[in-house]
């Protein structure tokens, strides 16, 4: 047994400090699905804008009502001004929703001749796959980020980009963008050579595969592979650039989690992965933390409930008190659960700045809600 070490407390994540830092140009929210990445991204963007920064936020699959509140009625890949900002500061906020298919088409067009691009677009394989490609969303989000980033540098319209990540529950999907891996990883045969091998394997086993897949499918697949090959250089370059950009000191990753075991497991994974890849991790936000009123324990509330039950009085005051005590017992239990969850996480990652965002009683679907989330992040 080793001697007990003094317990280190995880540092508090100073979010306002991050938002104010003019050196920070890109903030990426990541975490598993449904934990509040999009909400947090929007809340951080709004808070930064209301503190004077010129912000664009790239959202992916926002809840319908939140999208409406941000003025995002169309999926058109164009940043639109968000109305209703607190005008006291000279900041501004634009928001956009990622259109995956369009971004994919843009990438294809950018890396090949118009003729070839037309061929690719017409390929039924591309059509059914550009929407469902494993990892496409991740890749496209990063592609869009690097486009916005060049605009930021060239035009100075914004000084902060907040990027949401796709609603994949698996942390791997995002950092491990499968398509990039397929095209660039030296894993099996190495990048371009890999495609060659695949193409060759289609030739060698053409007969078998034709029997299995049918002729058309095979033809479509191999012409798709061939066209990917011509675009390969472009893809790879972009992927490398985006990766470098994400490693830069002007980027900050914010991992979002809920106080649930699954989400925390993936948050841990994310934190470890970011640290391992030396990506700039700013901190972890524990979202939707449930709280309870102080001053009465669950046991105390239970005892009080029993007393009321014994009195068997059904006056409004007694019934109301019983309901309130039941709600309190439930709240204390939930709050204890959430606190225990984040304490465990903090113990496992004592060097990672953390803080929590309370669970609001209703969904966050307007600027008022986003501001409430933002306000909970105030003062260090």
């Amino acid at each position: 047994m080793t001697a007990a070490k003094p317990r280190r407390r995880a540092p508090v994540f100073d979010v306002d400090q991050l938002l104010k830092d003019p050196e920070i140009k890109v903030i990426v929210t990541c975490g598993s699905g449904g934990v509040g990445k999009t909400t947090t991204a929007a809340a951080l963007a709004l808070r930064a804008a209301e503190q004077g920064r010129k912000v664009v936020v790239l959202t992916i699959d926002p809840a319908r009502r939140l999208a409406q509140a941000l003025g995002l009625t169309e999926l058109d890949n164009t940043p639109r001004p968000v109305r209703g900002l607190d005008a006291a500061q000279s900041g501004k906020l634009q928001a956009m929703m990622l259109d995956m298919k369009r971004t994919f088409d843009e990438v294809v067009s950018a890396h090949t001749t118009p003729d070839k691009a037309e061929q690719v677009f017409a390929n039924p394989f591309y059509q059914s796959l550009s929407a469902s490609f494993a990892g496409t969303q991740e890749y496209m989000a990063m592609e869009k980020l690097s486009q916005l980033r060049s605009q930021l540098v060239a035009e100075g319209e914004w000084d902060l980009i907040v990027v949401d990540t796709p609603p994949s529950r698996s942390a791997l999907d995002f950092l491990d963008v499968r398509m990039i891996r397929l095209l660039t990883a030296p894993a099996r045969a190495g990048g371009k050579a890999y495609l060659k091998v695949v193409t060759a394997s289609f030739n060698i086993f053409g007969k078998v595969l034709t029997r299995i897949l049918g002729n058309d499918l095979l033809g479509n697949v191999s012409s798709f592979v061939a066209s990917l090959e011509t675009m390969f250089g472009g893809f790879r370059e972009r992927a490398d650039q985006t990766y470098e950009l994400l490693k830069g000191s002007d980027t900050a990753f914010v991992v979002v989690s809920s106080p649930e075991p699954d989400a925390l497991r993936e948050a841990s994974f994310f934190v470890e992965r970011l640290q391992h890849e030396q990506m700039p991790l700013a901190g972890v936000l524990m979202n939707r933390l449930r709280g309870a009123a102080a001053g009465l324990s669950a046991e105390g509330a239970g005892a009080a409930l029993e007393r009321l039950a014994e009195l068997a009085d059904d006056s409004p005051a007694s019934l109301l008190a019983q309901a309130a005590l039941r709600v309190h017992v439930e709240s204390v239990r939930a709050a204890a659960h959430d606190r225990a969850m984040i304490a465990r996480f903090a113990a496992a990652h004592p060097d990672v700045p953390q803080r929590s965002i309370p669970a609001l009683p209703t969904d966050v679907h307007d600027l008022v809600g986003l501001r409430a989330v933002g306000d909970s992040l105030a003062d260090g």
């Binding site: 796959l129 494993a134 002729n215 699954d262």
Partner: protein
């Protein structure tokens, strides 16, 4: 098929459903397809290999688990239909299997639903091996695509054995033998996704089984207790005094508890609204309570008891609700 928005409880509900269906001496295959080993975690067993493994006994019946690995399914498929064992291993070496299963999720989905069909139709001595197959399916965002993949592949490969195979699977998926259950929480986004998916699935001619409202919050605050939608603190303070709390303490506590109750009733209202939306869509609903974490096998039996899937009636052949 059990689908739902990510994290709503698909795996948990699929497992509870399988236990419920097994009760009374039935043999149920519980299949997971996302390669996440969710079943092993839930049943607290070592990671499942791609082999049918007994997970639990349930009132004379049993639940067999299977974690389908798409790559293995593809090789199995090649072996089964084309007896190209060696071809398979060479294809794997060349990276073609990886390529197909990664780049063409459509083909992957065909293999996965194909595996389900194989299990459904498997017979020994003329009798079906499984009374039911429960699939922990991909989430609502991908479910229609998952089921439709067989169509798309049938279209892409106009002839040949894959075409034939796809048509067979597609027929089963559209038949009254297949129902799709949608798991949801009573929150804005999961409910919206459930409604969208239900509409999409119906349009594509699939049968919706039940909408399973998971982790439903008990109604603790009846509207009649509130004054214009919120707690009257003085009334609450009186009630707390009756409960034996000192009156000085009761007043301060009443303020704090009032906030708690008001927020709880706001959440209840959000849930009631979500509930109404589901009911308005004419979807048959089953409710599952929130259990105290972590959900273990005991918890699964509790949920199975709340589901009682053996009692569920489905619209008769050909009639869609």
């Amino acid at each position: 098929m059990v689908t739902g928005k990510g994290g709503t409880g698909k795996t948990t509900v699929a497992a509870a459903l399988a236990l419920g269906l097994a009760a009374g001496g039935h043999r149920i295959l519980l299949v997971e397809v996302e390669g996440r080993q969710g079943l092993a975690q839930l049943f607290d067993t070592p990671p499942l290999p791609y082999v049918e493994t007994r997970l639990a006994a349930s009132q004379g019946g049993e639940v067999i688990g299977l974690a389908v690995d798409p790559e293995a399914a593809m090789l199995e498929y090649l072996e089964l239909f084309y007896s190209i064992k060696r071809g398979g291993s060479v294809l794997r070496k060349m990276g073609a299997v990886d390529f197909v299963t990664t780049i063409a999720p459509g083909l992957r989905d065909v293999l996965l639903t194909g595996k389900a069909k194989e299990a459904v139709t498997r017979k020994v001595g003329g009798r079906p091996v499984f009374d039911a197959v429960v699939l922990d399916a991909p989430p609502t965002g991908r479910i229609t695509q998952f089921l439709q993949a067989t169509h798309e592949v049938a279209d892409l490969a106009k002839f040949g054995p894959i075409h034939k195979q796809s048509v067979g699977v597609s027929t089963l998926l559209h038949s009254p033998q297949t129902v799709i259950h949608l798991v949801t929480l009573l929150e804005e986004m999961p409910v919206q996704e459930t409604l969208d998916a239900a509409a999409e699935l119906r349009a594509a001619d699939y049968r919706i089984g039940r909408v399973i409202v998971n982790r439903a919050r008990p109604v603790l605050v009846e509207a009649g207790l509130l004054h214009e939608g919120s707690v009257d603190e003085q009334t609450l303070a009186r009630g707390l005094t009756q409960a034996g709390l000192q009156s000085g303490v009761a007043v301060g506590l009443a303020t704090a508890l009032a906030t708690e109750v008001n927020e709880y009733s706001q959440r209840q209202a959000v849930e009631a609204e979500a509930d109404d939306q589901l009911a308005a869509a004419g979807l048959p609903i089953v409710r599952l309570p929130e259990l105290s974490p972590p959900v273990d096998v005991g918890g699964l039996f509790e949920l199975a008891g709340a589901l009682e899937p053996r009692e569920w009636q489905y619209p008769p052949n050909g009639v869609r609700s």
